[in-house]
């Protein structure tokens, strides 16, 4: 039975108790180690209810990819990931005919050439069947029998033309294969697209998605994230770390410190057995937070100014 004939079961995680309300989602995400705020939970909840993909934008290192992984973890479902890059094409994103296998199939038939007419017809039908189809992530997510989480990572890296490939999948949850017909989803996947904002995405793509902007977390949330991810840290130091990072982000930096860098820094401070921050300790470990020479100089100057 080809997938085209299967009935469409448009259930994502609608029945799962974790997806019952935004508040329940916050709780469920916390259990898998992701601290979501009300906004994040609301968008996830709506995406599940409305069967729409989520487009997550924001600076690097604010937990965009992590969000998709956490959704998969809390739903206990498979995560199918499509990492985008320049030059990504149909054969890498959607599907590809297994050319070599088709070739072998034809060659296996060679011996009885005299009766080739009748055989060719059945062979031709056979050649373009699912057996010879290599499913790439988008088709794989559509074809999965249970609800999966599909992560399309860094979608801003593909060209505008490639972006259009995804539109059919995102809006209709189906893939058209000329030789085979239309493959419709057996169960609608939960789709998360992430973008680092390096280029403007097309209106068509944006229209098909719910939008979530993940910015640097608030002071309070960042403190909680530090406490959650670096359990050995003292509560006081975690607060100070969050304050200091927030303060650094206000400077005119080329690259502001991300959450993952905050965590690296917090871990380092724990290893160094620092109990409370000081300008000296911060200056000495600044290179964990800031990666540009100019940024380092600027921040060091600022901190030195405080000491004087």
């Amino acid at each position: 039975m080809s997938p085209a004939e299967l009935p469409l079961t448009p259930s994502r995680f609608s029945d799962a108790p974790s997806f019952a309300s935004p508040a329940a989602l916050v709780e469920a995400l916390r259990r898998v180690g992701y601290l979501a705020d009300e906004q994040i939970a609301t968008v996830l909840y709506l995406a599940n209810q409305l069967h729409k993909p989520i487009l997550v934008e924001g600076p690097a290192g604010t937990g965009k990819t992590e969000l998709a992984k956490s959704v998969a973890a809390l739903a206990g479902s498979r995560l199918i990931r499509l990492q985008c890059y320049e030059g990504l094409d149909e054969s890498k994103a959607l599907y590809e005919w297994n050319y070599r296998k088709q070739l072998l199939r034809i060659q296996a038939d060679r011996p009885d050439e005299e009766r080739s007419d009748g055989r060719w017809a059945s062979l031709e039908a056979d050649l373009f069947s699912e057996e010879f189809l290599l499913a790439r992530p988008l088709l794989e997510a559509i074809g999965a029998s249970e609800p999966v989480v599909l992560l399309i990572d860094e979608v801003d890296r593909v060209e505008l033309e490639t972006e259009a490939l995804m539109l059919e999948v995102l809006a209709e949850y189906q893939v058209s294969i000329p030789e085979l017909g239309t493959v419709r989803a057996r169960s609608i996947p939960f789709v998360v697209l992430t973008s680092n904002d390096t280029r403007e995405l097309s209106e068509a793509l944006k229209r098909r998605c719910l939008y979530l902007h993940l910015d640097y977390p608030s002071l309070e949330r960042e403190r909680e994230i530090v406490l959650e991810r670096v359990p050995q840290i003292g509560a006081a130091l975690a607060g100070e770390v969050a304050q200091m990072v927030a303060s650094l982000r206000k400077l005119e930096l080329e690259k502001r410190p991300s959450v993952s860098e905050t965590l690296d820094w917090a871990r380092t401070l724990v290893l160094l057995e620092v109990e409370h921050l000081s300008s000296e300790v911060t200056t000495a470990t600044l290179s964990l937070l800031l990666k540009h020479r100019h940024d380092l100089e600027l921040a060091a100057r600022e901190l030195a100014g405080e000491r004087a």
Binding site: S21, P22, E38, Q39, T42, V43, Y45, L46, Q49, L50, K52, L55, E57, G58, Y99, L103, E159, D197, T198, R199, E200, E203, K206, R207, R208, C209, L210, Y211, L212, H213, D215, A236, G239, E240, Q243, M244, A246, S247, K250, E252, E254, H276, L277, S278, S279, E280, T282, R293, H294, E297, L298, L303, E306, R307, A308
Partner: protein, 475 residues
């Protein structure tokens, strides 16, 4: 609800957001799918459907505050209870009638701003608006009038500077989360930033509260109209306020990234080169020696060489600053950039950009270090071009694209259009970017009409959107 949402999306559209039918439908379905008790959830749900670009968030928030103005429960005011709470907290407070007196309000404000108060900023904002705004339904005054009244009533600026002074002198306790930092300098720095952040948050809360109350007495649509603000990309360079300029500066870095990607892509695409025989054969190995996909050699497309002449006099300084910033942020997309600043004298500023560690720093240095004034410090285009031709003519070659940035207002100095024409003949292209509205060109002391014939194009460049369009066509 559908009626409200339609009016809401109309207003967003008028504020400049690209809102299509799909977005409105999503919003309607979202509100149906949600338990709507919580206004924060409603805001998140509508934002997810309507805001598809983070720079539009502010405009959205303003409209949202006006439209969904049923004051949220936490901001609902109950002064007696509030006074009671403060009294319980041992901070003095209300008298027998439950009225909050002026002194304890000032205390509550100072505590809230220094991060030690128990009072939520939103409630403080509601309280202040209640107390000082004195909104009259029929007076035709805008929100800024009431904002001014509330801020004066609270005496916010004086309180903030008083607090900062106390922090500097160390006569004020730090909020609990900073208490244990032994390094005094660092603690005070964080303390000061906390005060500034909270006062800004309070100001915004007051604005939102005022918008809500005005909408309640005047109706949402007229209030939204009076509050409509330009999106960052549509703000006029020549009339931008300080907050606008800061927002524009913040949006420059992402804009430069997007533009660089676009220019690089255009340079790569559309190249048809000669057949690359070696590569074709190499790739045919995986298809049994049949050259299924021919490979082509990619020709190099040359990057343009830029020469920028920027008028940095007061009236157009902001425009020059943004354009220079963008050009240098795109540095890798040009084979060389040389820049010159002028008012009535002219000076090469490329070296300042080379020496500085960041573009922002370089642009500040241009304003202080470049020798751009030769006589009286009023723009003299003719004079500046003549000096350029005399001193830096070598900079312009057949490969250079020359950009002149300025409004072309020469303060009645002679124009010398023949000098610019000479430059245009040497250069590959010469473009003039003018931050003035096209309608004003040629009026008063504008010399644009005399220079235009020598330019390949004179482009109106009043805001970031137009600047972006010009740069993305440049190659």
């Amino acid at each position: 609800m559908i009626g409200t949402l339609t009016a809401f999306s109309d207003e967003l559209r008028r504020a400049g957001l690209p809102v299509s039918l799909t977005e409105t439908l999503d919003a309607v379905r979202a509100t149906e799918a949600l338990p709507l008790a919580n206004p924060a959830v409603l805001r998140a749900a509508l934002a997810a459907s309507f805001v598809k670009d983070v720079t539009h968030q502010r405009a959205f928030d303003t409209v949202f505050d006006v439209f969904f103005s049923g004051a949220p429960p936490r901001a609902r005011l109950d002064e007696p209870a509030l006074a009671g709470e403060l009294a319980d907290g041992g901070q003095g407070g209300g008298d027998a009638t439950g009225e909050l007196d002026a002194a304890s309000l000032a205390d509550a404000l100072a505590d809230a701003l220094s991060g030690r108060g128990e009072l939520d900023l939103n409630r403080l904002a509601a309280l202040a608006v209640e107390r000082f705004a004195g909104i009259e339904a029929n007076r035709p005054v805008g929100l800024s009038y009431y904002l001014y009244r509330v801020l004066r009533g609270l005496d916010l600026d004086a309180t903030v500077s008083g607090l900062l002074e106390q922090v500097r002198a160390g006569t004020i306790e730090s909020p609990p989360e900073l208490d244990q930092i032994p390094d005094l300098g660092l603690r005070r720095r964080l303390q000061r930033e906390g005060v500034a952040d909270r006062s800004e948050a309070l100001r915004q809360a007051i604005e939102a509260e005022l918008a809500r109350r005005l909408a309640a007495v005047r109706g949402a649509v007229p209030v939204a109209r009076s509050l409509r603000r330009n999106l960052v990309e549509d703000v006029d360079f020549m009339h931008a306020s300080r907050t606008d300029l800061a927002a524009m500066r913040r949006s420059l870095a992402p804009l430069a990234r997007v533009l660089a990607a676009r220019l690089a892509r255009r340079r790569r695409l559309g190249r048809q080169g000669a057949l690359d025989f070696r590569s074709t054969i190499r790739h045919s190995l995986s298809t049994g020696g049949v050259p299924v996909a021919p490979r082509f050699r990619l020709p190099r497309r040359t990057k343009p060489e830029l020469v920028v002449l920027a008028d940095v006099s007061g009236s157009v300084a902001a425009f020059a600053r943004f354009t220079l910033h963008l050009v240098y942020a795109l540095g890798s997309q040009f084979s060389a950039v040389r820049s010159f600043a002028f008012i009535d004298g002219i000076d090469e500023v490329s070296r300042i950009f080379a020496q500085s560690s960041s573009i922002t720093e370089a642009i500040e240095r241009v304003e202080t270090e470049a020798a751009v004034v030769a006589a009286d410090g009023h723009s003299d285009y003719g004079g500046a071009f003549s000096r350029f031709s005399a001193r830096y003519l070598d900079a312009v070659t057949a490969r250079s694209t020359v950009l002149v940035l300025g409004d072309g207002r020469g303060n009645y100095h002679p124009a010398h259009p023949e000098v610019l024409a000479g430059l245009a003949r040497r250069a590959r292209r010469l473009y003039w970017l003018n931050p003035e509205p096209r309608a004003y060109w040629g009026s008063g002391d504008s010399l644009i009409a005399q220079y235009a014939p020598s330019c390949d194009a004179v482009v109106e460049c009043r805001n970031l959107r137009q600047l972006e369009r010009f740069v993305s066509e440049l190659s």
